[in-house]
Subunit: 571 residues, 2 copies
């Protein structure tokens, strides 16, 4: 059996090697346009930052052997043609026309089974000056080397990153942390990680990144990239003014490479090549996987584009199995995501509230803020966790979390994500059994707590507002319409009471019943505590006493603090 | 509505407070024999070790308010009677007879709904001398105080812990790490954490604990506890000799407290009080939760006894909801477990291979050893992960993992555990989507890898042996029956080849096809690499070349090393 694999980064090599393990007699050829193959593109920021001392580590095995042509031939029995482009697929003859990029020579190879693992390409918006020297995308080893060399030569003092998605943020850390470069991120929307996480979570991330010296301009568009006389970039003109820059990183998203598939008249959508669960394209002898295919979202049942080295690897293996006569299925994706920036980790799976509403769900946000360890255990950090819940069915549509203990944050998100394909409800999460010992959580895990908050919210018992709504109330704090009721112990509330009486009052949870008559019936009361739990209990007491317009602040003062909002400093 | 809650540690307070939140007008009384209530017993080792400076933290809220009678009355509206024992339940009259332990006075309280949260009691085997001064269990705050005072006064130089379960091991760390006490654990069975984890995982834990100076005697029984003339403990006589001791900790398991339920003629089993999914006992007005109830194992469908503060809390909340007219269900348990000892973490969920076989499953062990981060990411630690797989159906019955990055270890186990109630197969785990970025894993997550190993094992493609079988082969290494084929790179294999040629040979994976003729057809060949992955690929090549009796070592040299086995030192 002759197998040709087009693309040799993630899905391609995995498919090729799997075929050879299952069918050692198969004749497997892998082709790639590039000279460097099988690299971990997701490691680029860590090479730029200097955390990884040599770029070769990004294309070596964990036993320090380079994953080059020789490796694939000797260890895996796979033939490799690099600097070779697949220019045409003749499906009727089952042939691929290949072109040697160094010589321009074309030749034809026959196949029994073909694998498209053509990946994705950075999207470059049509901005004037984008062709200047010193403007890069983060997508391959060659540009990575060039960026690294520029920096090492000390030629970069100021960098502008266009795009506040994962790659932009990771690159911002890489340039700042090790090299002391002044970095500005320019983001078109109102938040970092747009469409990935809620504004609240994005604000927490932004506060942390800014604390480490990165400037972030949201709601800003790039109008022009400015070059000097020799064609080198010298600045970026945005809707918020001009930024000087010796280096510009374009991190404005990627698009699936579907041209070859389109020309072969395979079914495609803007999200990628269409495949079935066996990862066959509309031609059953042609498989496709990795960034070039459209994925099925297990929450919405719709096609989505995703760029993920992890999904690419798993799809590659399934393709290999199926080519070798197996019957493995790729059921779909839950759109999981994680990023570590400086000391903070943001992770998510499923849909944000915004995306869920766009998809037609009656989605509600629910927040729990809790320590990653038992509260009496010495080392501990808060985790801020948000669920997206469908109000009509109680189904959990998504989860997001942020915190300083990244392994714990991603652990919680993965635990929930593992249930997503089974369409879990809040009852499933409410009784979910998480392994418990004081060094790893509270007796009531934050995941259970979040489900409980969701239950109370859906039953109408817990009425909370998020940081955004709180801030809009706070801006009107002098109007007399609002009372902020701080139910923490007196020492915790003191500073705010001193500064903001009479509209910030403190009655501790234990005293509330004795002081109900001191509270106004005609104001909107916002109950505040450290993480939101005590506020909820006080809200129930106020409800029973007949108060209307009572809300709690989701995540409490801890959430405000994490989002960089200091009420004492606010004016 | 009158609600009486018997027991005020975990399930009890949770149930009582939940009722009050949902039904503020309910009259809720909680009674407990002890004077200290609502404490985190699982925190005891951390108080003994000095990690927690004051014992009050174990019964305080996370906002530093003592959870005493006043707290429950003022914050929660729950009446509390401490030092009060429930001596009899009159189900017909719906009354409980209570006894004030300080005065001996008995009185009767009526109930509409009753909650049994009577917990569990340490099992004390009938050993001579067990009544000596200085012999303790780890179960309540009073004994904890006494142990702590003894240690602080410098009266403990040597301690013997009877029982190698979780509490015994945690206490061993507490006594050793901070206080420098010479500690010996005496364990009846052949391993630590018997019936919880596989021997391989237990060996890894044991090697780590021994490295920190704790002596462990497995396969040892205690014959007698020796006291001096004043009745103080002076030693422990075991089947392996006498151990001097100033302190003895009995950590030989706990039993559910079911006497009160039995006397009220409620249905009970040796695993605890029988409850339905709503957590009602055989009397629908009497609920029960926490350590005193029988739990349903979601894997076997059978009743089991479990001692867990976490499950107790979740059950307490469900009881509270149901008493208040809700309909929450507790579906069962997946028997999750986690422990941190010194720098190592062991976590599990579901069944070990041994337990699964006892339950009638055709269970197989499968191991994956992989880094917790991308291999090119600077900070990284190995995780050793084992699945229990049903050979007949491909169903995953359990997971265990061990490693130095505890948050990552427990995160992987929880992720798998979340699927257990949905009866996942290896296909579910094979395509499980885990959030990926280099600081948190490999593109192919260890959970996916483990599923792939399982697939290859069930298809008969991957034939591996565990550490125990390897050691039995290794003991016969001079017989000429075995060849140990090390397929790592030459530098890694050098020391073993030098010491153990001719039965330890090195042919790297890349060279294997050229050297097949050098391998003997008449020996059992054990292929070894660092973690087991390369061994598998070489095994496929040997299979194809017609070799019989070829096996790989599960987890490779890394697993041996983690289990404290150094082949160079072995003789």
């Amino acid at each position: 059996m002759k197998v040709i694999v087009i693309g040799a980064v993630a899905a391609g090599p995995k498919a090729a090697c799997r075929v050879k393990r299952l069918l050692p007699e198969a004749d497997v050829t892998m082709v790639d346009k590039d000279s460097i193959i099988s690299y971990g593109a997701c490691g680029i920021p860590y090479f730029i930052s200097g955390d990884i001392p040599s770029i070769e580590e990004l294309f070596s095995t964990n036993f320090h052997v380079l994953r080059d042509i020789k490796y694939f031939e000797e260890f895996k029995g796979v033939k490799v043609l690099t600097q070779t482009e697949a220019v045409f697929i003749n499906r009727r003859k089952k042939e691929v026309t290949l072109k040697e990029l160094t010589t321009g020579k074309e030749f034809v190879l026959p196949y029994d089974k073909l694998v498209l693992a053509t990946g994705s390409t950075p999207f470059i918006p049509p901005i004037e000056g984008v062709d200047a020297q010193g403007v890069f995308t983060v997508a391959n080893m060659h540009d990575t080397q060039k960026i690294h060399e520029l920096i090492k030569r000390g030629e970069v003092e100021r960098a502008v990153i266009i795009g506040g998605g994962a790659i932009g943020i990771e690159m911002a850390e890489a340039l700042t942390d090790m090299w002391g470069i002044e970095v500005t991120i320019v983001e078109m929307t109102s938040q970092l990680l747009p469409k990935i996480v809620e504004p609240e979570i994005a604000f927490m991330l932004q506060a942390h990144v800014e604390m480490h010296g990165v400037k972030i301009l949201c709601n800003s568009q790039v109008k022009k990239i400015i070059k000097d006389d020799s064609g080198n970039v010298s600045g970026v003109l945005t809707t918020k003014g001009e930024l000087a820059a010796d280096l510009v990183i374009m991190a404005t998203g990627v698009r699936p490479n579907i041209k070859l598939a389109q020309e072969a008249e395979l079914l495609t959508t803007p999200q990628g090549i269409v495949v079935n669960k066996r990862l066959q394209t509309s031609d059953p002898d042609i498989y496709a996987g990795g960034n070039c295919v459209q994925n099925w979202c297990l929450i919405t049942g719709k096609g989505v584009f995703l760029s993920s080295g992890s999904i690419a690897n798993r799809q590659g293996r399934i393709i290999g199995t199926n080519i070798a006569g197996g019957r493995d299925l790729f059921e779909g994706v839950v759109r999981s995501f994680v990023i570590k920036v400086f000391d903070i980790c943001v992770a998510k799976a499923g849909l944000s509230v915004e995306v869920a509403r766009e998809e037609g769900f009656n989605a509600l946000p629910v927040m729990a803020v809790q320590l990653d360890r038992a509260h009496f255990y010495p080392t501990k950090q808060l985790i801020y966790l948000q669920l997206t819940v469908d109000k009509d069915t109680g189904r959990i549509l998504g989860i997001q979390a942020v915190g300083l203990n990244g392994d714990a944050v991603v652990g919680k998100v993965n635990t929930m994500a593992a249930m997503l394909k089974f369409r879990p409800t809040i009852e499933d999460l409410s009784t979910l059994e998480v392994a418990y010992a004081p060094p790893f959580g509270a007796a009531m895990d934050i995941l259970n707590t979040a489900a409980h908050v969701a239950q109370n919210t859906l039953k109408g018992k817990n009425r909370s507002i998020g940081i955004m709504e709180f801030l809009s109330f706070w801006q009107e704090r002098n109007t007399g319409k609002y009372l902020f009721l701080d139910v923490r112990e007196a020492t915790d509330a003191k500073a705010l009471v001193e500064k903001y009486a009479p509209y910030w009052v403190n009655i501790s949870q234990a005293d509330i019943k004795r002081h109900l008559s001191n509270l106004p019936l005609d104001k909107t009361i916002v109950i505040v505590c450290n993480t939101g739990m005590r506020s909820y209990e006080v809200q129930l007491i106020l409800d029973k006493a007949g108060f209307k317009n009572v809300f709690t602040l989701r995540g409490g003062i801890a959430a405000l603090k994490m989002a960089g909002i200091d009420l004492i400093q606010s004016s």
